[in-house]
Symmetry: C2
Subunit: 397 residues, 2 copies
């Protein structure tokens, strides 16, 4: 395997879009190609995540039609579906094809138009990322899964649920604070000054999660241009290198012994750290899958940033904000920036690259400029997990 670099990023403003998801992806991809300074004739393949295009627009095979929309000729294109982790899986696959020497320059990313579906239909179709045979008949949707996770967490660690709700509120406060500063975020210039009470008293969605504990439905797309590390400096003075990746699979929730510690995430994060030769202490900035506030807390522990049962306290203490142990979701995360599911993994990678260029919005930039960053993306209720570790230099610090 040769080294691989990200040389260009593109990202639509998340929120409500009046474009098809192929047009959204084309917008992000054109930005990424322009950012990288590559011509479309140089793109050898497309790797793309998109989850529900058949429900959103009656369109399958969005990857092929994106190639056509972008005028990329007849190049190979592949659509990946791993629920909300789809574009992380796409990026990881693109990385392998370039790393193996098969291609030199490729495009990867994702797109989704979930907001325009409306909440009832989006919730129901999203739930197909869960296990249909056992979770479908039970009426379980993702707010319910992460509400249960919060209750389990409260019991395992003997934290009264009301206390835990306050601690979880700090995830929402932090992520909204940073989302409000990010012009690409769905909640840009909104909810920047939440108080604990604002979160606790907002509308109850799935007890104990209120509306402000949840990420929104979103339309949006994100894309990156990847190339062989050896040629990256032809295109940019600021390549960001892929140092390691991980991926894991899980089954029905009912088969998990403890879904605050899903094996798929633990295994995927370990794979990423091992392949990079790094550990959590090496990570300077993190974008993780905060679909709900409880999700951020359990993710931090599964990845090894905090011991079991300690991430809720650490969040309240500011350890996951700027100046803390591990600045997490400085882009606003899913809660503040939005969650166009097929685009989320690629968006996280774009946000880490922005941090590593020192180009994050004021108030969100980690100082000093981070050397190593990581993304964590969750599909379904732990069915698919993906991790990517990125560095400003080719082999870590």
């Amino acid at each position: 395997m040769r080294d691989v670099a990200i040389i260009g990023i593109g990202h639509t403003k998340f929120g409500k879009a009046e474009k098809t998801q192929i047009e959204l992806f084309a917008e992000a991809a054109m930005q990424a190609m322009e950012d990288a300074g590559v011509d479309r004739k140089q793109i050898e393949a497309l790797f793309m995540g998109s989850v529900l295009p058949m429900f959103e627009e009656g369109q399958g095979m969005t990857s092929a039609y994106s190639v056509s929309e972008l005028g990329l000729g007849s190049i190979p294109s592949t659509r990946f579906e791993g629920a909300c982790a789809s574009s992380t899986i796409a990026l990881r696959d693109a990385y392998m094809w370039v790393g193996s020497g098969q291609y030199d320059v490729v495009l990867a990313g994702g797109t989704e138009r979930a907001l325009m579906m409306g909440t009832p239909f989006a919730t129901r179709t999203f739930a197909m990322g869960g296990h249909a045979a056992t979770e479908g008949p039970a009426g379980l949707t993702f707010p319910g899964v992460f509400a249960m996770a919060a209750v389990l967490y409260s019991r395992f660690y003997d934290i009264p649920l009301e206390k835990l709700r306050e601690k979880m509120a700090y995830v929402s406060i932090k992520n909204h604070k940073h989302g409000a500063l990010n012009p690409l975020a769905q909640w840009y210039q909104k909810y920047g000054n939440l108080k604990v009470e604002d979160v606790l008293n907002s509308r109850m969605i799935a007890d104990p999660l209120t509306l402000m504990d949840c990420c929104p439905f979103s339309d949006g797309a994100a894309a990156v241009v990847l190339c062989a590390a050896d040629i990256a400096r032809r295109y940019t003075n600021e390549p960001v290198y892929i140092l390691g990746t991980g991926q894991g699979s899980g089954g029905a929730l009912a088969r998990l012994e403890d879904f605050t510690k899903p094996a798929s995430r633990i295994s995927s994060a370990r794979m990423a750290f091992k392949s990079a030769g790094l550990s959590p202490k090496d990570i300077d900035v993190l974008e993780l899958h905060d679909c709900f506030t409880s999700a951020e807390i359990i993710a931090l522990e599964c990845m090894g940033f905090f011991d079991w049962g300690e991430a809720a306290d650490a969040t309240e203490d500011g350890q996951t904000d700027l100046g803390g142990k591990i600045p997490t979701n400085m882009s606003g995360g899913l809660i503040g920036k939005g969650h166009p599911i097929g685009a989320t993994g690629a968006s996280q990678a774009c946000m880490i690259v922005e941090q590593m260029r020192g180009a994050a919005p004021k108030g969100n930039q980690v100082d000093p400029v981070p050397e190593i960053g990581m993304t964590d993306t969750l599909g379904g209720d732990f069915g698919t997990l993906g991790h990517i570790i990125l560095g400003r230099s080719r082999r870590g610090k």
Copy 2:
């Protein structure tokens, strides 16, 4: 890139299944693992095609739930959607991950349960593999696409349509003859002795295509175990090597100058031949995407087995049957064996492996046992194309 071999195959009987698509896939995968003599602990990743699981069973991320169903732990699993070419894309990706040295032993394949949807819903959902914005409002479905292809072919090559219909009928006669001999086929022991009149006089579906010009809707799954070529003989005396692959993308039909010569297929086939260092004359047996009789004829020409305008005559002359220039769809193809869309590409690879083991059913086996075989899989109306070239020895003849 190191060499990669197929060491095990598994294939459900195509037709109507009283199992979920995950159960179907597990059946094929268990067969493939048993055939390869590998334990499930050795499987390092799963690559799986499945097209419409959300419509068929309300289940996304079928790859992850297949890992769980098979008891494969938390290994990475990826679902690919490229319409009817999905599992060819999955196999090609699996090939790259093993070829790059990242994994030694992996599982790849596909599954679908389209028959149980019923024809109206299946037709409508399949059509999402076409271009939604332009072909959807026109009411175009795939029988219509390949009916138009037949009409275009008739005009381009000045073959009266009634004459062309007779020539096309020989595709149906041949593929049904071989399907009737294949115990895995949906039409096993049926339609083995069709006459031209039987095809011409069956129910009209999309003029000039009758029912017998069309492949059926099918439920089924197919799987292969891939490993590094260097370790293949630990598991089997009959490894089959992947010599080359290709993939291509196309856009809306309206953007194609001539859709009897789609650039995506021409480019993908050329990529496969180039990567294998081979040409059409080297291929001893071919499984191609005969979703309709007209589709087989244009595929043969796009891949270079016959000159433009000559494949219809060649078919009538028996050049695509046993003893002819290029025995094509000796398994029955999509028309005789069935077409569970997400499984079709993997099924084609299984059928080529069977041929190379000299294990095809009597009356279907190419004699002498073929040294080099090829698969051609089409997704949508030329949106995604995939090709795989397989050999009994590591570098061709």
